[in-house]
Each structure stands twice: as C-alpha cells, then as structure tokens.
C-alpha cells in the first residue's frame, strides 16, 4: 500500500514556446517540494533545417540564409561563414574590412549584453532596470542602423569583405554613443553589484566551479564567470583581433553575480576596442575578389559570439554549393550546465539560472505545466506565473 509520507513530487514542464532562440526548448524539472531533483531538455520546436537548406543553396545565398540563424547575433554568424569560405577559397579580406567586421561584432556584443541585462533583470522582478537597459540599447541599435542600414540582420558582410564603410560623421556618432553607453554601463555595474534586493537573486546562486564548467563544456561568459579562460578572440584570434587584442574578463566566483560582472566588464572592453579601431582604422579596399566556385576542402571556423564560441564546419566539394555545413551555436553547449545546475536549487531560482546563460530568449510567456507524478494530475502555469512565483517566493523570505 502506498504511504502518504513520501514527499510530493511534481514534474514541471517549461516550454516549448521559446521563439527568439534557434533552439527553443521545453524543459521538465522534477521537484521535491521546492527543490529541483531532475531536469530534462527537449529542443527542436523551431528547427528549420537550415543545415540541410544550406546544402541546396549556393555560397552567396547561404550567407543570407545563415545570417538569419539568430536575430540577436546575426553578424557573428555571417562573419564565421565568410571567414570559413574565404579560408577555403584562399582569399583574405582586406585589413579595413576585417577591422570593420570586428567593430560591428563588438557593437553587436554591446547590444546583446544590454539586452541580456534587461531580460535577466526582468526575470528577477527588477523591471525598472529592464526598461532602462532596453532604452539604452536603442542607442547601439541606432548606431548599427546608421552604419549598415539595418537594425537586426545588419548584412554588413559579403564574401571577401564588407559592404559598409565608416566615414568621419559616423565615427563621431559612434564615439558619442559610446560615451553615453559607457556611463550607463558604469551605473549598471554599480546597481548589479550593490543592490541588495537584486543580489539576493544572484549572489551564491547556481555556483559552477571551474572544474564543473570544464567538464560540462560551458563556454563564453558563462564559463569565464567560473574562471575558465576560454575566449576565441584570444585563443584563436580571427579577423582583426590579432591587431586589436582584447583583455579577457574573468571571475572566480562562478555564481550568477559573477556572470553579470563578467558581461558588464566585457562591455567596457568592447567600448575600449571600438574606440581603438576607430582611431586606427586601416585605409584601403573593402572587398577582395571571390571565385564563384570554392575549391574542395574542409574547414573549421570558430568565432566568439556574445554568448560564447560559435563553431562552423564547412565541407566543399568544388562546386558552387557546400557539401556539408554544420553550425553549433553557443547556447546548446551551455544548456548542459542549466540542466545540471538546476538540480539542487529552488524552483524559484530556475528562471534566473536559465537567464544566467543568456539563452537567446525574448519570449516571456511560456506555458509551465505542473504535474503531480503520483496522482497523475496536472496543473498548468504560464512562464509569467512561474516568474511571479519566483519573485513572491523571495519577497516572502525577507
């Protein structure tokens, strides 16, 4: 006979609607009271078959296809693809083009990190910070639009170079924008590391040791917050990062607060780098000539997206289409860490742990299903309700 003394266990499904991400996900967390005891992920709700589609398009069409893998880090996908195809074709983009690629990539990193500060502040119930950081993000979006003509899919890259140049007027606009953004980033750094209410949600939560981060294959700012010195811009400099080296932002604490500190420090490094590039932008051509057919061969290209290492593998068979193209986005690697870190944490911390890896999400209204696995009943809750639940939980603990 079943005893009623067993603690009640619930399986909570979060998802699957998660539209901003290439890999929108459904998560299932089994909880014992408040504590998560098991986590499971199921992806693919917006799998668009881009890798298969890329095999059926020519090299130029693929550039536009791959830029649309992600709406937040579109430029870095196009950069990785261009660098890979250029390596296969033995073409090198001119120095000015490489510098502009890096400049746009760093502007994109600024926009992505501001966006993330807002999203994770919202998950913690700090909506004022969310609105201010998204307001400030408009500054960098406007700069990107001014530079490339587009706010989201900038389309700055072409095979063999870039299609936008920077003139004196744009330089002044960028420098003015950066001054404003730097001042704001300083303010956010102060808020994120001193606001006691916010620190309650971040300090000491989801601690990942250096060893855990390495074993789980965490990458990008998530790994650097656990003192794993892994940054493709430094390990394997591409485009103009050889001429414009960056300093790695590291933290030893490995908790959510450290992930905030690392990302804000990366913002300061991006500001510095953009100023340096604008001051010393090499003169010259913007594009090099590309052949229509790319010689047979294989290439692995890694670049540092705002969320971590982005990996491209391309195999060419000598025709005008790739034989195989593989994209591995950073979120998929960090997802393993969410699954492992959530175990042992409060259900109320789940939104913040998920937000902590910056999983490319813009959707706040996902369905959360609470199932009592013993009684086979289920109770549906929206993501918004789970978020409120997390906020209330911490309010009650004050």
């Amino acid at each position: 006979m079943a005893t009623n003394k067993e603690p009640e266990r619930f399986t909570i499904s979060i998802g699957p609607q998660h539209p901003a991400l290439k890999e929108p996900g459904s998560f299932q967390f089994t909880v014992d009271g408040e504590i998560v005891t098991k986590a499971y992920v199921r992806l693919g709700y917006a799998h668009r078959g881009i890798e298969k589609a890329a095999e059926q398009r020519n090299w130029i069409q693929d550039l536009y296809l791959l830029e649309r893998v992600c709406g937040i880090c579109s430029h870095i996908h196009a950069t990785a693809y261009c660098l890979a195809v250029e390596e296969l074709a033995h073409v090198e983009a001119p120095p000015r083009a490489q510098a502009i690629r890096v400049l746009v990539a760093e502007l994109e990193r600024i926009h992505s990190h501001f966006l993330w500060i807002g999203v994770s502040a919202h998950e913690a119930g700090f909506d004022t910070l969310f609105m201010y950081s998204w307001r400030d993000r408009e500054t960098v979006m406007d700069l990107l639009e001014r530079l490339t003509g587009n706010r989201v899919n900038y389309s700055a890259n072409v095979l063999g170079g870039v299609k936008c140049d920077i003139d004196a007027e744009q330089t002044t606009a960028i420098l003015d924008g950066l001054n404003f953004l730097e001042e704001r980033a300083r303010h956010y750094f102060d808020v994120l590391t001193n606001d006691s209410m916010f620190l309650q949600r971040t300090r000491g939560i989801a601690v990942m040791s250096r060893n855990q981060a390495e074993v789980m294959g965490a990458i990008g700012p998530t790994a650097r917050a656990s003192n794993v010195a892994r940054d493709v811009r430094i390990e394997s400099p591409y485009a103009a990062y050889t001429q414009y080296p960056i300093k790695m932002a590291l933290d030893t604490r490995g908790d959510l607060e450290a992930r905030f500190v690392v990302r804000v420090n990366e913002l300061f490094e991006s500001f510095r780098l953009i100023r340096q590039i604008l001051a010393t932008l090499p003169e010259g051509e913007l594009t090099a000539r590309m052949p229509r057919r790319v010689p047979a061969g294989e290439v692995v290209k890694r670049v540092e997206a705002p969320r971590g290492e982005l990996y491209y593998f391309i195999k060419s068979n000598g025709t005008d289409k790739p034989e195989r193209l593989k994209v591995r986005t950073p979120t998929i690697c960090n997802m393993t860490s969410v699954i492992k870190l959530a175990v042992g944490h409060q259900l109320a911390d789940v939104p913040m742990i998920l937000a902590g890896i910056d999983p490319c999400f813009s959707c706040n209204d996902r369905t959360v299903e609470l199932t009592d696995t013993d009684r086979k009943t289920s109770n549906i809750m929206t993501w918004e309700e789970l978020r409120r639940y997390g906020i209330k939980f911490y309010e009650a603990r004050k």
Binding site: E23, Y40, R42, L43, G44, H47, G49, E51, K52, E214, V215, M216, G217, R230, E235, S236, E298, V300, R302, E309, Y311, F313, K315, E323, R324, K326, R328, I332, C333, M335, T336, K340
Partner: protein, 156 residues
C-alpha cells in the same frame, strides 16, 4: 602551450598504445586522426581529456553518399588555437557508435542529434529521446542523409 606543442602532444598520444590510427596535418593548426577501430575511440578521447586537450567543440557527421555507403563522424577537439579531428567511419546500414556521455556530459546533445538526423545508434546514451525532430516524425527516416526525400513524409 602553443599550437605546435599541443599538436605534437596529441600526435604522441594517438600514436601510442598500438592504437590503429593514421594521422595527418591538413594545415598548420589542425591534426586529422583516422581512428580505424571503434573500440579505441573512447580510450583515445579519455587520453586527450587527461592531457587537457579534450575540449569538444562539436561532433559532425558527413554522409558520404549511397555509393560509398558509409557515414563519417568527426569529433572536433579545439584546445587553444589547435583543432584535433578524430574521424571514424561507420556503415550506413545499422550504424552504431559508443556514446561519450560518461566522459563528456556535453556530448549528449550532439549524439542525440546524430542519432535522429543520420540514424547512428549511440550505445550508452543517458537520454536516447529525440532532441530536434517532432514526436510524430516517422521512424527510419533520417533527414540529413544525402538520399533523404521529403516525399517519404507524405507517403501515407
């Protein structure tokens, strides 16, 4: 360690222990290792992990087409600036590979993808469920294979 030292160390590892491997250097940053026996794949990866060369960037599968009737699986390890590619070949029919989940937890997502997209059975996978394909996707149809025909999906 610089790239050259990493690749020299890796070459030393894969050529020891009588492992049936064949190494080549397609470019100065990359070491290609053909692993001829599937039983040796996991021990070689453990040896790379022990020497801290085992940061797995991705697992890629290439369908060599119905004529060759083989699939090639590439394990890309990227310590520092270097790329170490372990290459194994499996027949297209009844393909199977040992899972790396026990030594590299992050490999699970790549292996689940290979299983559903190319039809390679991963032995020892913790969660062998589908990762990307829908629940009602028909069994035995692998969309990333070269001879995949979307018409097969609408057969009934």
């Amino acid at each position: 360690m610089n790239t050259e030292e990493i690749l020299t160390l890796a070459t030393g590892i894969v050529s020891s222990w009588d492992w049936a491997t064949e190494s080549s250097r397609p470019n100065p940053k990359q070491l290609d290792v053909k692993v001829k026996s599937l039983d040796e794949l996991v021990p070689i990866i453990v040896a790379l992990r022990v020497k801290r060369l085992g940061y797995l960037s991705a697992i890629v599968c290439l369908d060599l087409g119905p004529e060759a009737n083989e699939l090639e699986v590439l394990y890309h390890f990227c310590p520092g600036d270097a790329v170490i590619a372990l290459r194994v070949r499996v027949p297209r029919a009844g393909a199977s590979l040992p899972s790396l989940c026990e030594i590299i937890p992050g490999a699970e997502v790549f292996e689940r993808e290979l299983q559903e997209m190319f039809g390679i059975q991963m032995i020892g996978l913790n969660t062998p469920d589908r990762l990307y394909l829908p629940d009602d996707w028909p069994d035995g149809i692998y969309p990333m294979r070269k001879d995949f025909d979307p018409k097969a999906l609408f057969a009934n």
